[in-house]
Symmetry: D2
């Protein structure tokens, strides 16, 4: 049984608490939030849970084994670091930190203390994304050609992060999980429509060493909610639509076939293939439950979580570069040593 | 009655011929194509139409008033120029030419000879796009914030143009028609998955002097066909989905409202509005018929077509800049004098 | 503050308890269920709530003002009657009882004791159905021509009721709420695919005194979930699709117009009208919350609930007749005195 | 080469003529229509085709081998009979005739004269319906449980037939093709909203000797177009949605599994299965082309067409019974000798 303290009971905190309650190996000891009215909600729903406005009460509590952090991004680093220093395992909301330097520091702290650090990249634990990973790993797509995601809606304008850090973070986490390689360069464009605000609409292109491209379209100001990812491959292609109630993942036996004969005209070498579509049955287990179960396993075995510090840092690095590029109107930011990024001239 | 010669009977030519037949003020005198088997199809369907493998027969025919050109892009300039020089009015497939220099030359030729030059930006003549123009012009969207289009499918890989020239051209033509301003800078990224081919997948961002952004996602290698454009404004927002059988244009009374009080916190200034949706009835007239009627009117009155040389050139200029940017991994290409592009640092 | 005892903690009970917790004027004192494992769930989730395997403990508890019954249909009558006799107000799951005779008896008991009896016709309290009622009442549809509903999915095969009592009950409750008149005759067909089971697929036609028809298609054995109702009128028509995430109610300005001139041929008299579509914004309040608030109001004022005994009885009467007709392969069952059902020869 | 005369150039005639032109083994010699303006259209589009207002010119023309009849239903019998008597092969629009007696007479005439008689049940020749037939015949659905179709839109109000004869005819033709058995009893309800008109909305239930049911919902007064058929089986289930641009046929590995042990409780015997979904690739050949090719083959070989007189008669028989039942408010009409219709008490 792992006993939790939860810091932050805003949007995501209630989901964490509910799932911690429903997971057999976890228990919620205490919740902290600076807003008294939020704590009242905790008290009325979960009379057995201690509440406090001071997160340090949780760190000081020897009954607590692990801290879950569901607070604004700019507080992640400080809270997670203090929790690790207090000897607690940590689950921290995405993105892990505001800078990659902070991320490195957290990884170091967790490693030295043999503590589990898990970043809440929730989508990685959905049955849809796990199915996609299986398909990609099994080679069913052939060579992956592209990852193209649209993640837009009329969303809450965040104050401390731009839309990339709020929404594109999901795609970066998914890509880190399902793709064999990491981007070697990024270019982003975006716009801010609110005086004094951050970019509320952004487009992020990522280049890879192989002939692969990724693109993410994120927008807080869309009239409709779209959550759709196309993943193209040389053999098959995937449409992952998270708004579909049941058939979220569809695999299309479609594409082009390229001829081998180098002497033929270009024209003759491209053939088109249009075949069947297949939508695998997905189980309906809640992602957060699967994630908490994974956290429990990692605490017990000492294994690095799938979405541990390494994954969290990789995502923060890409976000840092993307925001920098966006500030400079799409200026290319290379992440790999010169010349290794084949797609980049 | 305007008598036509049609050059090119491949994919688009048959649509042109059929619509020219069904338009009361137009007539088809002759069709040319280098492929004899295509001409056989013309002959069996339209026994009264002359056929020839030499387009010059059409230019030399004094019975012919106008030439419609439906051939590969790299031939547009030469054919259109020769047609104008032969004193014929011209309808030319989109994009008008391969370079903006060629475009300027055609405009010049048409102007000097008082001939009508119309570029076949078909979407501009659909009831959906005309409805959108009316909505935007009437100020119903308030300030336009963005234009965001996805135009992907498993499409024919073109040989002489990249995917921007094949698909993004539609969005550039629509934007030229419905938006009050033109882009002042562009940045594009893309990839080519076929050895010896052109980019088959591309992302194009366009910046404006006002706080507006536009983005177009085009792809020849998508497992599903998507034709969806979001147009965001300060008052209302549009979703234009050309795949919908009837409700192609939906207007959402959704958005954010920004407070006026400068002293308040940022947080207090953003409010959310979620209201009704409205889908205007659209007539079902075929766009090409409307376009041909407009061409007839312009020939008769000497008026510049909505999609005349100016519009055709504007689109080619953007495509040129976009392809250049794409070759240079998203390098910003400014189209206006320095400092005028507000969105660009 | 109204204090509740809840009988039955199976599928619907947890929703009731959660909403009773979240409604300021209601409180849950105790829950009964014959299954100890269900009570354990109550105890872990709501430690302050008393649990018991004997529902009589709830009836005997003087702290309890109202009983909510969420048990199988065949137990509704007995439990509701005993609750009323114990002086408790009652909320009972739909359908109210197994027979109309039982329904009459409950109404009588509640009336004599001045107790509130509400049948949980949940859909009536959704913002979608309330919007539809407003539209119909305001005369926007003109004359209502038909109500046509499809309510199918791979659903739990019930043991004590057929699919009409499980699914068509929702449409009968909605029709009772939104239509000005009641059916005067019914005819139903259906089939049972499981030996020893009840009909799992049924089609119910209802005739009205005016020139109106209603039809409900219900099915426990559909591969896809469909919840769609068409309501046709002389002026406008509604599509109500409960599977749509946001635009659940769409109003179409479509239909036919009938000429007045009696001498003209029939042909000339039918004109077609195809106009705009409008989807009103719907608030997202949970129906059960609205229903509980309404129950509280009725208890306080003594008013008859919208879905009180009268509505509950009307629905049971139609179900009785429909099941009878279904057993007799669509035999017409008249509910009004002879000759009053205009649609019936 | 089979030379055709086409009688009737209204809605369907132009499709017939176009497809006859595009089929290599067929040719159009002449078209008749009583409306001169329709004939003008033929002349301008197909200058080589003879036109006449008198269909007898076609029957008398010795150059003509086959007659295609695309006229109102009440004229089918007379025209088809005269055409057969003139020694011509016949394609006749659906439904074949107005009465089953007429249908028998046509079959007799065609048989005696060794002429091919094909009823234009177009849907039978679509790749979607042929795929469904293959699936059903291969036993992939297991035992067929039901066929449930919705075929509604704002359609042309017909003058000489009710909505069953106009729309349900498609489903009866499809069922005749794909199901191993025929209905043994029918019950229909419907309504007419136009004074002096025919039923414009109808519901048709069909019973079978096996434990199968079929239902068709047809409506000329729907605000939206729906063309969806569910086919349920013991192993798998099909959703056939003709409005889908590409994935028209989806096969769901979903359903219930029934236990064998007779001693167990009913409850224990029903299990639920929710598996993958599969959408086979369908070719895009136009149904009418496939049908004309089949007609050519039948003329050459003397084989009975898939949708020959037998199929045409079967559909007319069901329509006759259905309209009779509808006039009598769903009165059951048995088509088989007493006692053979297992589903009917």
């Amino acid at each position: 049984m792992i006993k939790f303290g939860v810091i932050g009971y805003g949007y995501w905190g209630p989901n964490l608490v509910r799932n911690l309650f429903e997971t057999p190996q976890t228990e919620v000891v205490a919740v902290s939030d600076m807003r008294v009215e939020r704590l009242k909600q905790v008290a009325s729903r979960y009379p057995t849970v201690e509440v406090t406005t001071d997160f340090r009460d949780l760190l000081d509590n020897p009954d607590i084994d692990a801290i879950a952090i569901a607070t604004p991004v700019h507080t992640h680093y400080d809270l997670a670091l203090k929790a690790l220093q207090a000897g607690k395992h940590v689950i921290v909301e995405k993105p892990m930190t505001s800078t990659s330097e902070q991320g490195l520091r957290l990884i170091d702290e967790a490693t030295r203390r043999n503590l589990t650090l898990l970043v809440d990249h929730t989508f990685v634990y959905t049955s849809a994304v796990r199915e996609i990973k299986d398909i990609v790993e099994a080679g069913k797509l052939g060579n992956v050609y592209y990852y193209d995601s649209t993640r837009v809606n009329l969303g809450l304008f965040q104050h401390d992060v731009d839309v990339l850090w709020d929404l594109a973070v999901h795609d970066l986490a998914i890509m880190d999980y399902i793709l064999p390689d990491s981007p070697c360069a990024v270019a982003a464009t975006g716009i801010n429509h609110v005086k004094g605000g951050t970019e509320n609409l952004a487009y992020l292109t990522m280049f890879f060493e192989e002939n692969v491209i990724a693109h993410v379209n994120v927008n807080w100001l869309s009239p409709v909610k779209i959550r759709r990812t196309l993943i193209g491959g040389s053999k098959q292609m995937i449409v992952y639509d998270d708004m579909e109630p049941s058939e979220k993942v569809k695999i299309y036996d479609k594409g082009i076939t390229l001829g081998e004969d180098k002497d033929n005209l270009y024209k003759a070498l491209v053939g088109y293939r249009s075949g069947d579509m297949f939508a695998p049955h997905l189980d309906v287990s809640e992602a957060l439950k699967v994630e908490l179960q994974h956290f429990v396993d990692c605490v017990e075995t000492g294994a690095e979580p799938i979405t541990g510090g390494r994954a969290g840092l990789q995502v923060v690095r890409l976000l840092e570069s993307a925001s920098y590029s966006m500030k400079h109107r799409g200026k290319l930011v290379e992440l790999a040593p010169d010349g290794l990024c084949a797609g980049v001239a």
